[in-house]
Symmetry: C2
Subunit: 367 residues, 2 copies
């Protein structure tokens, strides 16, 4: 593996000093920003995440802020999910598609008020799409990237750690809801959400200057909880079926192919982009879809490109994320499989970069 | 420095196999794709680039293709450069700005025909902006990312190497013009352009499958020219004043601040986005502008964040790229400096990550 080259273009975060002091060993780049990928080892980080509590620098989940009288209208134009029932205090997972129904991003929208939203984005410049649409539609809305950097606290001891820093009221925040909490005189939005299945929170850190003070406060408060710096864990997120935009889905795919049909209300989401393209697939279903794939045996190599899935030598899909699983044995993987071969138990062959391996379609993800 | 983590999301290129075989040591991520940053060492790569010929995997210069009756209209909506005189066969450097005049990208537009353009982009998802604008304006144009991956051949022996592979006619291609050339039955667009001041070409490799055959053909033909795998070189591009989007300019800056006023014809580029915002600055000039900055003495650390430029303790600008220069001594750097302090010879202080250093504003870049 090669080193990542430093440059301003690959932006540091308000927490980078803490991440480096914690001994980060690997990075990826996400929304033009550094995202840690490993501290001790992917396996050790995984074990620790499942047993203790971790603080994650996910500042790369940049926010697209919509502000102004047309903010709500623009939000509904952007997604086929019907947002009429969304209230301030709620977070909605919202597929964003282009006019062909192709996925542009799969962010979480945070409704701050009737005229203000944050869209917490996956790895594509959704800001540019959103600005382009707002400008083309001549909407009365400001679209910008504010100085807001999410910091995630994940793991079974997340509630305990958060309560020590923000008070017991934080325990009452429900899944995909947020509350306002004080940190050193700053009002912060804290949601119960995050890119793991171990439970936890995402703190929307508004103001880069409080990044390291908050980081330090969490580590000080959690010393006896064995708190560590962590990051989204490849193994754990595959086991939990958490998809990754750019890995498991791209602009080639509809939300229905990604198993996100339950987040689309294409019939009633009047005015949303992609409605014409998605109405038919919403009724008839997609011809390929995301499936959990098991690859028994020895660890597969790093999945740095799409691996073909074949049956009797014919291409029936692809695997786009894979990792050896300490808890479930063999390898866990995410695949996109054609309907002729997507039933649970179907035996396939996956063409990894290190040769062919048997693979099996599973009923669901591991946890 | 940390390792770069492999994933499909950080896309490999049609030339990655060749890049790896050549011993790439560092990568960055550019347009969600791997871009090599160093082979032997940045200093050794620099020396070789100035004396011989290099083949660069710049597939990350993704193309945004505009195709259809409104392609020309959309192209003019996107940029304040007046495109009325642009002919097929020409490449134009085109600043792309938002409605506030802020830089979104600084690509090269390639006019293939009256109804077809490629926009060879810097590091932002210009595809999303372009699609959003085309959709919002209801234009009759297809906007997509085609399977086209630029491969650059740069250095003083570039003409000789290219002539051996594509025939002597390639020598006649003028700067920022392109011609059509055959490679194994494939028609390729080849422009005289590239991100160095050593001369050379960019081959728009259409069809990923011919990537490695072309890579191999270039190395075979250039063995006695000392051809090597290379990449945009940090030192050489700063010496030559080649700006980097995301490093030296962002959405915060107007083209005029970036010294790109000569590529803006805001008065006559009717219908372009950002016209209202830029008309005044086009007349009056910007209050800060890109300048070549010399930092004498020992090598500075890697410039991985903006370094403040100060005068008498007051902030007057920032440095965003810097490197020690073997040929010119000391350190060469790119800065954005307020007009009160931008005259050649002005002595400033730059706050590097390793402490304060004296710096001087130069009349121009080094070559």
């Amino acid at each position: 593996m090669a080193l990542i080259a430093p440059s301003r273009r690959v932006r540091r975060t308000p927490f980078s000093d803490g991440v480096e002091a914690a001994g980060v060993k690997g990075y990826t780049v996400y929304n033009h920003m550094l995202l840690p990928t490993v501290f001790e080892s992917v396996q050790a980080d995984y074990r620790h995440l499942k047993e203790h509590v971790q603080v994650w620098d996910v500042a790369c989940e940049r926010q697209v802020e919509l502000r102004g009288p047309d903010a709500g209208r623009l939000m509904q134009i952007l997604t086929p999910r019907d947002l009429r029932g969304m209230l301030p205090g709620q977070c909605f997972y919202v597929p964003i598609v282009d006019e062909t129904g192709g996925m542009l991003n799969d962010p979480v929208a945070v409704k701050l008020s009737e005229d203000r939203y944050w869209i917490s984005i996956a790895d594509s410049d959704l800001l540019l799409w959103t600005k382009g649409i707002a400008y083309g539609y001549r909407l009365d809305v400001l679209v910008d990237e504010p100085d807001v950097s999410p910091l995630a606290v994940q793991g079974p001891k997340a509630d305990e750690l958060m309560a020590r820093v923000f008070g017991d009221a934080v325990r009452a925040v429900k899944f995909f809801r947020y509350g306002h909490f004080d940190f050193q005189g700053h009002d912060l939005v804290i949601a119960r959400s995050g890119y793991s299945k171990q439970g936890g929170f995402e703190i929307y850190v508004e103001g880069s200057h409080i990044g390291m003070p908050l980081w330090d406060a969490l580590f000080k408060a959690g010393a006896d909880l064995n708190v560590r710096a962590g990051c989204p864990n490849l193994i754990e997120r595959i086991e939990g079926g958490l998809l990754s935009y750019g890995n498991d889905m791209t602009r080639e795919n509809t939300p229905h192919e990604c198993g996100l049909g339950r987040f689309c209300n294409t019939e009633t989401a009047i005015g949303c982009i992609g409605r014409d393209a998605l109405l038919r697939v919403a009724r008839e279903g997609p011809v390929q879809q995301i499936r959990a794939i098991e690859i028994p045996g020895e660890p597969v190599p790093a999945c740095d490109r799409a691996w073909e899935l074949t049956a009797k030598g014919r291409r029936v899909g692809q695997v786009t994320s894979a990792a050896a699983s300490p808890d479930f044995g063999g390898n866990v993987a995410v695949g996109m499989v054609r309907m002729t071969h997507w039933d649970a138990g179907t035996e396939l062959v996956v063409e990894t970069s290190a040769g062919s391996r048997p693979a099996v379609v599973r009923e669901g993800f591991w946890i």
